[in-house]
């Protein structure tokens, strides 16, 4: 809301600067967006004050309301809105039927008005300063009263009304064309104003097209009603809009000013468009009016929570100023909430009022005492640290991805879809971190970064059986290009599958989890250069080269390698205790076997381990060779074995026997021969 500063003068004699007014309002919780000074031809020096009012302070949605707040802050007298009552010249023949959602409805007919007149200059100026478009004198005056008092008014074309007024719930599937020409489909939780033939307004939100004031209007029926916040809340939003009226009604309008608003509007209407005024018609359901809430305040508790020492005299002064009528003993006060404050319900609300008027800045400040808390190490931090030391950069991508990306990389059969996405390419919740990594990689590649190591830690989403989406935390990474930056001492090498595998092993090494690799793959990977990572039989990750079908489309020169691990499957290590190491010498033997190409190194080393005896404590694969000297369809795998016993020095003859056993087993089980 914005308004002219000079408008405040109608209600309060303020001598402070606009700057000071804004600062006072800000520090009282009525946020000020700013102010602009200018010279008004009518009122002289003036400023436009722009407010950003929080949902709890509906009472400040009017010039009068802001003046009321300033009066309390400055301890000044608030002048009540003045008006000259316009005498009626005829009896109202319209009957008004209200309901419990609309317990007050005040109406007045004005006949033979002259709509060719102009809105009064001061009214016009103030509306313009409040950023209100001028429409016609009648609508302008209703807008003026709304801004001044916070009471929304509506004017119907009296001649288009067919019979008595009824405020009622909408019927199932009832339609209404609003002032702005949009047709809405109503449901029974919406309140409408109707005559005997048709609905004529969406109560508290917007009038209907069928009865609106036009250039030809001769007579009007002015509505000033009180609608309960609960019947207005969310209704306008449901149809995708908000109005000045709905904003006020859903926050709560003072239920004691409906007649005042009609009187005040009548006075200005009389001066502007003239006409004959009917008797003010009022329909009320007293029982349904908001209850005056009684709230008690334990001053000791308030002081404890605020850390203050506010005396009961001071507290009473503040609360009286706010119109809360404090009563009771010195330490315990009983208060009633004023008709314009809907945010005063419990003691905490009163504590806030005390704090506000005392000034948040002048409330005491004490340091919180630290407490000892035994830290638990974050898995994400540990993973991040080890990847960063390997030259990886962390990225953070949106959790939203496009349908295409989700279809290619999605690991979840049922995708999690956003009902109201910000754009079509952000319509799904990612079930894989790969699309984001690839997009980031392409962005940086296009910017000249030829070698990249990226990782992301984040949630991935999917649907299992239930409707509720499931989430998992995952680490995924991407490597591309040179294994390390070019260096004068090194021979350049491109990254490969084993670099990615090494990263997986490095991550896993800081956790208590055993993994094994299986050549089973996903469609988006190269079928021969990819693997699934298992812990026992549970799938916990993936790695591989991006499928040439995809990398070809992306125009990539080299293979991209991707990897991922489910962080939840990585169990934190328990405290590592010291284990004794052997002080006896170790014995080393190097063996090279020629085996079929299809035999994996894992098969060979697993067999050797099983036959190598309990003292075999290290196995290093140091060469794999195919080509000259090795038959076609065969390969040579060279392995270095180390034995060491904790009980004594091992004899060469014992090792010879073990080696013989290994060689025999390799021959028997893998048809492999010792290479000469």
């Amino acid at each position: 809301m914005q308004f002219s500063r000079n408008w405040l003068k109608d209600f309060i004699d303020l001598t402070i600067s606009t700057e000071e007014i804004c600062s006072q309002l800000t520090m009282a919780g009525v946020e000020v967006d700013g102010y602009d000074s200018f010279n008004s031809k009518i009122t002289g020096k003036d400023s436009i004050i722009k407010l950003d009012i929080t949902p709890n302070r509906g009472d400040c949605f009017s010039v009068y309301g802001v003046a009321r707040e300033l009066a309390v802050i400055n301890n000044l007298k608030l002048k009540h809105p003045k008006f000259k009552s316009i005498e009626s010249s005829f009896k109202e023949d319209l009957r008004i039927k209200v309901c419990k959602e609309a317990p007050i409805y005040v109406g007045r007919s004005i006949k033979n008005i002259n709509l060719k007149t102009k809105t009064l200059p001061l009214v016009a100026e103030r509306l313009a300063l409040s950023d209100q478009k001028l429409i016609d004198p009648v609508v302008d005056i209703t807008n003026y009263i709304l801004l001044e008092l916070g009471q929304p008014l509506h004017a119907f074309d009296r001649d288009k009304l067919e019979g008595n007024i009824n405020v009622r719930k909408a019927k199932e599937d009832e339609n209404l064309i609003l002032l702005d020409d949009q047709e809405i489909n109503l449901s029974p939780d919406c309140l409408v104003i109707s005559d005997e033939k048709k609905s004529i307004a969406l109560a508290g939100i917007m009038g209907g097209k069928n009865t609106c004031v036009t250039a030809n209007t001769k007579s009007i029926f002015l509505e000033s009603a009180f609608f309960k916040p609960s019947v207005i809340r969310g209704r306008a939003r449901r149809f995708g809009f908000q109005t000045d009226a709905s904003i006020r009604f859903e926050r709560g309008v003072d239920y004691k000013i409906q007649e005042l608003a009609v009187e005040k509007a009548s006075e200005i209407l009389h001066e502007t468009v003239g006409g004959e005024f009917g008797v003010i018609q009022e329909s009320k359901l007293i029982k349904e009016l908001p209850k005056t809430r009684k709230v008690s305040l334990d001053l000791d508790r308030a002081n404890k929570i605020l850390g203050t020492n506010i005396t009961s005299i001071k507290a009473k002064k503040y609360l009286k100023g706010l119109g809360m009528n404090p009563k009771g003993s010195s330490r315990k006060l009983d208060l009633t909430s004023p008709s314009w404050r809907y945010d005063i319900e419990i003691e905490a609300d009163l504590i806030e009022e005390l704090a506000r008027l005392e000034g948040y800045d002048s409330l005491p400040t004490v340091s919180l005492e630290p407490k000892l808390k035994i830290k638990s190490e974050s898995k994400e931090k540990a993973i991040s640290a080890s990847l960063v030391s390997e030259g990886f950069s962390e990225v953070i991508n949106y959790s939203f991805i496009s349908e295409d990306d989700e279809i290619v990389f999605g690991e979840s059969k049922k995708m999690v879809e956003v009902e109201n996405p910000i754009s079509q390419n952000m319509r799904y919740m990612r079930s894989s971190l790969f699309p984001g990594l690839i997009n980031t990689f392409i962005h940086n590649l296009n910017n000249g970064l030829e070698s990249q190591k990226l990782f992301e830690i984040g949630s991935v989403f999917g649907h299992k059986k239930s409707k509720k989406p499931s989430e998992r935390t995952r680490i995924s990474g991407l490597i591309y290009g040179d294994v390390s930056p070019i260096h004068w001492l090194d021979k350049p090498r491109k990254v490969n599958f084993y670099d990615a595998k090494g990263i997986i092993e490095k991550i896993v090494s800081s956790f208590d989890v055993a993994i094994n690799f299986d050549p089973k793959s996903s469609d988006f990977f190269h079928p021969g250069i990819s693997s699934t990572i298992y812990n026992d039989s549970k799938e916990i990750g993936l790695l591989g080269a991006l499928s040439p079908n995809i990398s070809g489309k992306l125009g990539l020169k080299e293979d991209v390698f991707l990897f991922s691990l489910d962080i939840e499957e990585l169990k934190t290590k328990t405290l590592q205790k010291f284990t004794k190491f052997s002080k006896f010498p170790s014995t080393q033997r190097d063996l090279a076997f020629v085996v079929d190409k299809d035999i994996t190194s894992h098969e060979l080393s697993a067999l050797i381990k099983s036959k190598g005896g309990k003292d075999l404590n290290n196995l290093d694969l140091f060469d794999v060779y195919e080509g000259k000297g090795v038959d076609d369809g065969k390969k040579s795998i060279a392995i270095s074995l180390t034995w060491q016993s904790s009980k004594g020095t091992l004899l060469d003859s014992d090792i010879d026997k073990v080696v013989e056993k290994i060689v025999n087993s390799v021959k028997k089980e893998l048809d492999g021969d010792l290479r000469n």
Binding site: T26, M27, A28, P55, N56, S230, R233, G234, R237, E250, R251, I305, L306, G307, T308, I346, A348, D349, I351, E352, R356, Y360, D361, L363, T365, V366, S367, L368, K371, K373, S376, K381, S384, V388, E390, G391, S393, E394, V395, I396, N397, S399, F400, V416, V418, E419, N420, P421, I422, H443, N444, N447, L454, S459, F461, K468, P469, E471, H487, W488
Partner: protein, 331 residues
């Protein structure tokens, strides 16, 4: 030869040999010189052989003099040898000089995303104060995101959050406050926790991205006060920015706190909003079954990107999610 002429000869040999030895430039000529005096047919040996021609009583003295000469030459020879070795060694090492300005083999580290770094910096402070770090799901229910936080259906306060809803059910959390609710449901007070994480709001322009990071904190203890909240946030902001900050609290509105406040810091002469906070609303405590008569609480929340932008002078929020290496490498 008489003793007198022998003595003269010894004196000549001494000065002559010393000069020759000292003027040797390499081990070869030194060796040659040495041998010309002390070798088998060297001058000193020749003199020793001629001792017999001296009278008996003079031989002893002459022998001593000659031995003295021998040891003098020997010493000069040894000194010169070590001098030459040293020079040779220096020359050899001197030739082994490398270009120490060539690039080292140290591998450059990667980088932690500035959002993660900022979360870590903030978490470190709160952990040192005894706060635990809690996390929760990013897909939430209306109950945890709104209802349990005292935001009823259709309440205008919901407009403060432009919520993303999921097609099947639920929504994307608009703040990390649901983690506070889940923590209070699962554990008994007292509580000191912070909840960092991603949050989602349907908003996208220069100053808003549809996803960003938040850290919210919660303290529920006997005697938790607004004065402590002010003190804690002041200490935190000074720790975070590494300097004294001018901080101001002003009333605001959040459905889950009462009193509610917004904290602004003085930045280039104007006030800048950095934190929302307040005393936990009694309705919230009641809903999770915390005895509001015994315990009071306060909570606060901040936007991680915003804090990082202030601290590191980052001009555009969207840089965080572009992941351009020229941006990431700076952190």
């Amino acid at each position: 030869m008489d003793l007198k002429s022998l003595k003269q000869k010894i004196s000549t040999l001494k000065s002559e040999s010393s000069a020759l030895i000292n003027s040797s430039n390499d081990k070869g000529s030194l060796e040659k010189t040495y041998k010309s005096y002390l070798g088998k047919s060297g001058e000193v040996n020749l003199l020793l052989k001629s001792l017999g021609s001296l009278p008996q009583e003079k031989r002893k003295e002459a022998g001593m003099l000659l031995n003295q000469l021998k040891s003098d030459i020997d010493n000069s020879y040894k000194d010169k040898t070590s001098e030459l070795s040293k020079a040779e060694n220096e020359l050899r090492l001197g030739n082994q000089k490398i270009d120490i300005s060539l690039p080292s083999t140290s591998r450059t580290d990667g980088s932690v995303h500035p959002v993660t770094q900022t979360i870590n910096e903030i978490s470190d402070f709160f952990e040192s104060m005894g706060f635990g770090i809690e996390s929760g799901p990013e897909t939430e229910t209306d109950y945890y995101n709104f209802e349990a936080l005292n935001v009823p259906e259709d309440h205008p306060a919901k407009d403060m959050h432009d919520t993303f809803y999921l097609k099947e059910s639920g929504l994307l959390r608009t703040h990390t406050s649901p983690v506070q609710i889940r923590t209070m449901e699962n554990k008994n007070p007292p509580h000191r926790i912070i909840c960092p994480g991603k949050v989602f709001r349907k908003d996208s322009d220069l100053t808003h991205t549809p996803m960003f990071h938040q850290i919210e904190g919660l303290v529920v203890e006997e005697g938790a006060s607004f004065a402590q909240l002010k003190g804690l946030l002041n200490d935190f902001l000074e720790d975070f920015f590494g300097r004294e900050v001018e901080l101001r609290f002003r009333p605001s509105y959040f459905p889950f706190t009462e009193p509610s406040a917004e904290a602004d810091i003085k930045w280039d002469k104007s006030w800048l909003e950095v934190l929302g906070c307040g005393m936990v609303h009694p309705n919230v405590l009641e809903m999770v079954g915390v005895d509001a008569k015994k315990y009071s609480g306060f909570a606060f929340g901040l936007g991680v990107e915003r804090m990082a932008m202030l601290k590191y002078d980052i001009p555009d929020l969207r840089l965080f999610f572009e992941n351009d290496y020229r941006f990431l490498k700076q952190f």
